[in-house]
Amino acid sequence: MAGIFSSLNAAASALQTHSRSVQQTGKNIANVNTEGYTRQRLVTGSISSSNGEYKVESGALVALGAQQSRDIFIDRQIVNEIAYLETLETQDFRLRQALANLGDSINRTGEAQFVDDLTESGGGLRGSIDSFFNSFQALASRPNDATTRQVLFQSAEALVDNFRRVDSRFEIMQSELDAQLSVELDSFNQRLAELDQINREISRLEVGQPGAALDLRDQRQLKLEELAEYALIDSKEVPGSNGQIVVNIRSEDGDFVPLIQPGAGVQELYFDQDSGAFRVLGAGTTLDIESGRLPAVAEVRDVYVADIRADLDRLANAVATQVNEVYYQAFVPAGIDPAVPEASFFQMPTPPPSVSGVPSEVTAGSIALYSEPSDPLTVTDFTPLTATSLRTSVTEFKGANDLALLIADIGGQTVAELGGIKMSEFSTRMLTELGQEIEEIQNRKSVQEDVKAILEERRGEIGGVSMDEEVSNLVQYQRAFQASSRYFNVLSEMLETMINSMGR
């Protein structure tokens, strides 16, 4: 018979192991809703001891350690998908803000249903442009009517105001994006430092016990996923570094630039305004961050918003130039008969190109109604634009409308500088192109959310806590504990029998 004390030890060890299993199950149950928690399982095994000459081995159940149910490939894939999803979410949010900035709502309730209804042109740029040229149409039929002239003047003011307001919104948006980029970079670098700290602690805890720092590994994975929200990173465990990982980011050459290296600490990320590129502090390499919030913010600011502002400038310039080409009246100084004051519709840095040969420079932010001479040094007499000074004809006849008609017709003409489409169509195209971009992003986002959901579901299947399973395990461990307990009692009774029979 094997040593009864050895058996007692084995029973006690089993009881202890089952107890730890119950404890482990309890931990799983407790963390059922903890974000990033991966279920853990106590790995048990028997340790053998030989006894006597027959070398009969008695296995005692012991806890060999805890293990996580984790699939590192799914984890890596999720990091990638998070980065991409975050790109799309940032673009979606910001481009919808850009769309709102354009200010063209689609409101059918305010739209005229019948030809005799009140005219509603809408409040956006397109509406302003329509309203402006339609006012000229109306003025052409009533050149002397003070109210119609006032309406036109107001619609011109509204157009100028709209251009400036929309441009100002985008200017503010660009500043906001500057600030966001700066804040996001700080957050990214902060999280990088936190990740480095976790990495070091894992290394400290796993000296001689590879894979022992399970909860810290959960936290590290969470931190990697947080970082991926900012920028797509690559990570892998470095062999022989006690579980530490290296975190890399891709350069424009396709190489990896380390952000965290075991023993080397953190290399922070920054945005180089001069080159318009992300770089790693201390390393001159230009980065090519494929996805994440950081590149998305930079792209929205430097590509989308910049393009929209450039389009706005083109449109404002086209409106001002085309109208002035028709409306502009060159200055003829006093002394030359007849002397003519300079008159223009929109304020331009120079007379229209057809007159001066100098390209105009009107932008959405600078467009204004004519109020001062184009060149104060040479133009000494001018007629600022007002409702009353508004000219409707090149002749002196007040009822003539040739000028008004020509300007009204501009609204219906295609403009080469705008790609051969009409001005209001260009404004609509800005809106629909942005809409198409958002629609595409939202479609991709929807697919991406599904992909991420599938991956997370798969990860949940592997590492998530199932109450049913844990309760079932709990019963199982309880039964095992009871059985081991019973075994212990039997051994105890045997020992008692032996002790009592001694000395009789």
């Binding site: 059922v32 919808r96 769309l99 709502s105 689609i106 409101n107 059918r108 739209e111 005229a112 249903q113 019948f114 030809v115 005799d116 005219t119 509603e120 809408g122 397109r126 339609n134 149409q137 109306a138 052409a140 039929s141 009533r142 050149p143 002397n144 004809s393 002749t395 006849f397 007040k398 009822g399 003539a400 008609l405 009204a408 017709d409 609204g411 219906g412 209001s424 169509e425 609509t428 195209r429 809106l431 629909t432 192109e433 942005l434 809409g435 198409q436 971009e437 629609e439 579901e457 949940g460 299947e461 592997i462 590492g463 998530g464 806590v465 199932s466 109450m467 049913d468 309760v471 019963v475």
Partner: protein, 430 residues
């Protein structure tokens, strides 16, 4: 397959979120009547609908222009109807001169015609919303301006040219053209063609001795000299009638008698002639945009207005013709050449004026018909665009309500099934 416990909650939350989003969207659609409110919901449809909306506002403005054009045309037509009454009356009067025998008869007819002139002026200077109907593009100024006789004036013809009492001057020797000079009212020697001061005598044909020599400054350009020598080229170069007097040479040989006639008291305050201040050039006619690529000129054309001016001045001429008798009685020794037409000559003119006014009425009638057709085309285009917008953007109410109902049922189902599944676990059975 393992199912983690929080999968229920996550899945339920996700599902409820999607259903909520659907319900919010559908509710928004029902409350706004639109299936699309943002361009990213259907960019192509939004693009088409916005372009339609722009087109619709353009049509609305064109329709407003059309309404104004209709008003102008109706007013103009109605004005011409009144003018027609006047031209008919004048034509009848001009044709009925047989009964006029005494000076008083002529005086009465002259006064009656004078009233018609005043009436014609009032009618022809009709306005709509401050714009004169018969002024071409110069709609802010009175188009037909009456020039009236004042005390001290000399008589003019219906074209505003001075009326002269003519005398014949018969040179005893040949007159060297170099001796004929043109002198302006300031007494300066002027060039016959330019009217500018000169030292060079004009080049004119010689006037043979014994030829009656009459210079008609007030005559039309076609006959400056009646004795067979035509100086119209010389005189049409810019010298206005009445501003040049003639001195002939050699001195003492002959003097042309070109005396102006002082206006009679009866004529003071009367219209001497009528001037037109409006535009004439067809390029300056005011046009309104009333449809895609189409425009109309609702105001009376400048060229036609000139014809109405002729009618008014012929009315003046008619009055003056009636007065001719009175004028001759007052100056029995003077031969008058007023340049005015006789009543007989004017009879034919008035028939033409009748035609002009009638054509004007017909023209405005046609214009109104055209306006009606254009208006219907505009309305039809507008309605088509409205239908297009509705098709692109508006909801099908029944279908949307059904969709909302379906989303609500699904939401309720998700809540019920979720709560019952989440309530249960193995723990409840141990």
């Amino acid at each position: 397959m393992r199912v983690p416990s929080n999968a229920y909650a996550e899945s339920l939350t996700q599902q409820l979120g999607k259903l909520n989003f659907q319900q919010v969207n559908l509710q928004k659609q029902l409350s706004s009547g639109q299936r699309v409110t943002e361009s990213f919901e259907d960019p192509a449809a939004v693009g088409r609908a916005l372009n339609s909306a722009s087109e619709k506002t353009r049509i609305q403005i064109q329709e407003r222009n059309l309404n104004r054009a209709e008003l102008v045309a109706e007013f103009s037509g109605a004005t011409l109807e009144q003018l027609k009454v006047l031209v008919d009356k004048a034509t009848i009067d001009a044709n009925q001169t047989d009964g006029l025998t005494s000076s008083e008869d002529f005086r009465a007819r002259a006064l009656q015609t004078n009233q018609q002139i005043e009436q014609a002026l009032r009618v022809a200077n009709a306005q709509i919303s401050g714009d004169y109907l018969f002024a071409g593009a110069n709609t802010s100024e009175v188009p037909f301006v009456a020039v009236r006789y004042e005390a001290g004036d000399t008589m003019v013809d219906a074209q505003g040219r001075p009326v002269y009492a003519l005398g014949d001057a018969i040179p005893t020797t040949d007159v060297d053209p170099a001796d004929i000079t043109f002198v302006n009212s300031a007494g300066e020697l002027v060039d016959a063609e330019t009217g500018e001061a000169t030292t060079e005598p004009p080049t004119l044909a010689p006037i043979p001795a014994g030829t009656a020599y009459v210079i008609e400054w007030n005559a039309p350009n076609s006959g400056v000299l009646k004795n067979g020598v035509d100086y119209s080229d010389a005189l049409s170069g810019g010298l206005p009638y009445g501003e040049v007097t003639v001195a002939t040479g050699p001195a003492g040989d002959f003097v042309s008698q070109v005396d102006r006639i002082a206006v009679a008291d009866d004529f003071i305050g009367m219209v001497s002639h009528i001037e037109y201040t409006g535009t004439v050039d067809p390029d300056q006619d005011v046009r309104f945009r009333v449809g895609e690529g189409s425009s109309i000129a609702p105001f009376s054309r400048g060229q036609v207005n000139l014809e109405y001016l002729n009618f008014f001045n012929d009315l003046v001429a008619l009055r003056d013709a009636y007065s001719q008798e009175l004028l001759s009685n007052a100056n029995p020794d003077v031969e008058f050449d007023s340049g005015s037409k006789t009543v007989e000559e004017l009879t034919g003119e008035f028939s033409d004026h009748q035609q002009t006014v009638l054509l004007g009425i017909v023209e405005f009638g046609s214009l109104l018909q055209g306006i009606d057709v254009t208006s219907r085309i505009n309305e039809s285009r507008f309605n088509e665009l409205e239908r297009l917008s509705a098709r692109e953007l508006d909801i099908d109410v029944a279908q949307t309500i059904m969709n909302l109902n379906r989303a609500q049922v699904a939401y309720e189902g998700a809540l019920r099934s979720g709560s019952s599944v989440m309530q249960l676990s193995l723990i409840d059975f141990i």
